[in-house]
Symmetry: C2
Subunit: 412 residues, 2 copies
């Protein structure tokens, strides 16, 4: 999966680009084909985007703020939205955060980019939950880090040494991308202990928090730290990423970083170097949506829709894919992580057959910094209607049969 | 000018941050003080932001596009706006560009970040117009480049060799930041010759194009290339950056990169790694503004206002500062570049005195990759009303007197 290159005779692209992949662009291109079923992306259900509420909110926002939201910044974002996010995170974590703990970003994805720029020099270590969100690997590739796998049991040999060397630990405890796993409270607390002992940072990426299908997600790692340090200025190791992309709409491109105030100040310098500031127009729109408490009535609709789709997908998979794959039913989020039951399945090879059957998923190799994990696939259930999900699973079954028949060593 | 650091005991920040400066944040903080005159920033006149036209446009945009502009992307930006920008650049350059030549960015500043990520590995060379726009130096600092100065006469020893080694040449030919210089047509053509001969890229940064006070700016370097290659798919060396920040409002955060299609495809991969995509909401709003040809009636108002302010600033400077500084009256843009007539003036030292007099400018050292240039200052005239500009110049004169009196070696 190589990317396009400029014509010969001009200077070469930066070296990190040769390590990249273009799989997200491939998905997006595929998305436009007629009769194609994409179970690949991590996209919300577009029919649930609150267009009317957004239209009303953006009208209110420009009336309320006028030319103030047509300015460049502040770099850190609209102060009133920083305060609102601080309130939101305070309520969820049980301790007081202020606007000085919040930097607004162009989606949580920009938070990943900024944290990488802030902390990582080439060759430095990130300890990351494995398999690892593709977008995080993409965001940090220009910084050329090394990776060690986070073992949630914290028993792996060398884990303590790795944590001491790491610039930060990366974790998605709630309904992780790609696995959909909800990390247990005991594991969260134990990781926080280890992080504090090692004196490193912990990047808690929490985009899927609103998508709780089977009961509450429970306290995040930031909340665990808050229980230990309930008062005073926050100086904990957790750098927390949130977003409105899942509960409202990704096109807002409004996310946030919550961290100790001095780190937020340093991140603001990084953001200034990156795009000066995000648009205050969309931040003011986001503020209207938060202040009107729109999510309180809207998120339950999203959750009900996604829960049904998850169940339809898993039922179809039980019928058509269970000879070859196994999975846990995810208690939230957007993905089912299907693991091959036989080493004869290679999901990179399967991907090519799937495209021929007009269905797409994300092969596990792209969630591995080394690209070696080829035994699983990420299947999205939020974007497609139930009947499309069922058809997609049927196609995946046909593609799996084709891959097994076509594998090397099998007689023709 | 150091930035804040997280508390001792946690991993250090990336090494590039120790080379940074926090001067933009300082300006922004200063901006809020009562009775302070900031001639420092590069901010438009906020009273000219078209709030009502924008409000109408954003209502039209969401009605027109609905949920489509609440999606993540495309990464490259709203296709209709890419097409409109391609039209705009085609009209200005005299050759045909298509949407495939356009990537939309979060302001032109993000274009600088993306081009740095695309092309520069640590230690590689950028040949840059000198003094150099502070934001460009900031954007590329995480990539740790080396710099050589671009000599517009192209006669400097070693210039040809530097061009051959450079990953790209950086130039702001129209009303450059910080100098306000309008580079001559002959110099543009000669630079293009040299760039083509050297086989490198040329990054033409053109934010000030609309701000033409004394007649037309003339063809840009992209247009010079178009004259030589008027037909066919564009494969020239020019990577062109444009923006709506000066003609409409910076808060839109809508800019663009125009380049050969394969480079745009590679830049899209870089952008995906950075923030997935910019907000389509603001891009759709920008499209409405462009399609309604709002700038045709609005930009002349901006130009008339800024021309008057430039003249007021220069007149006050002639009265109060001409003993110590010299300058050319800039034919466009946002800045007057004042050069000290005596080596006894050090604009870093002057800056501290200026703050005591409640006036700010930008000292020349921040426009020098080496930080050594201390004989000039950038003075902005677009943000402040005429009477404020005059008062600011009076304060600059008092500050200059104080710096000269306080300099080392002078008897107390």
């Amino acid at each position: 999966m190589s990317q396009s290159q400029p014509r010969v005779g001009r200077p070469a692209l930066a070296s990190w680009l040769s390590t990249g992949n273009s799989i997200t662009q491939q998905f997006m291109a595929i998305g436009g084909q007629a009769d194609f079923v994409s179970l690949a992306g991590g996209l919300p259900a577009a029919e649930l985007y609150p267009v009317e509420a957004m239209a009303a909110a953006q009208e209110r926002a420009l009336t309320r703020w006028g030319s103030a939201i047509l300015e460049y910044g502040p770099i850190e974002g609209l102060p009133a939205l920083r305060a609102a996010v601080a309130e939101r995170v305070s309520a969820a974590s049980g301790r007081r955060f202020g606007p000085e703990n919040v930097l607004l970003t162009t989606g949580a994805m920009q938070g990943l980019d900024l944290v990488g720029k802030l902390l990582v020099d080439p060759g430095e270590l990130i300890v990351s939950q494995f398999p690892t969100y593709l977008g995080a690997l993409d965001a940090w590739r220009p910084r050329a880090p090394r990776y060690e796998k986070l073992d949630w049991s914290l028993q792996a040999p060398g884990q303590d040494a790795a944590l001491r060397q790491a610039k930060f630990v990366y974790a998605v405890p709630n309904y992780s991308n790609p696995t959909g796993v909800l990390v247990s409270q005991e594991e969260r607390a134990a990781l926080l202990d280890k992080v504090l002992a090692a004196g490193t940072w912990l990047l808690e990426d929490d985009p899927y928090l609103p998508l709780q299908f089977d009961g509450p997600a429970g306290p995040g790692i930031l909340a665990h730290h808050a229980q230990r340090q309930p008062n005073g200025a926050y100086d904990g190791p957790v750098i927390y990423l949130g977003t409105l992309s899942k509960s409202l709409a990704p096109g807002l491109r409004v996310g946030w970083i919550v961290a100790e105030a001095s780190l937020i100040a340093a991140l603001a310098l990084v953001k200034q170097s990156t795009d000066i500031a995000s648009s205050l127009l969309t931040q003011a729109l986001a503020l209207e949506m938060i202040e009107s408490d729109f999510e309180a009535q809207h998120v339950p609709k999203i959750v009900a829709t996604y829960r049904e789709r998850r169940d339809v997908l898993c039922a179809a998979a039980s019928e058509h894919l269970s000879d070859w794959f196994e999975w846990e039913v995810p208690p939230g989020g957007m993905f089912v992580w299907m693991r091959a039951k036989t080493p004869e399945i290679d999901t990179d090879a399967l991907y090519a057959h799937a495209l021929q059957e007009k269905v797409a998923f994300v092969p596990s190799s792209v969630f591995d910094p080394d690209g070696a994990l080829k035994s699983a696939m990420r299947v999205n259930f939020t974007r497609s209607a139930p009947e499309v999900l069922t058809e997609g699973v049927r196609r995946l079954a046909r593609a799996t049969r084709r891959q097994l028949e076509a594998r090397p060593g099998r007689a023709a």
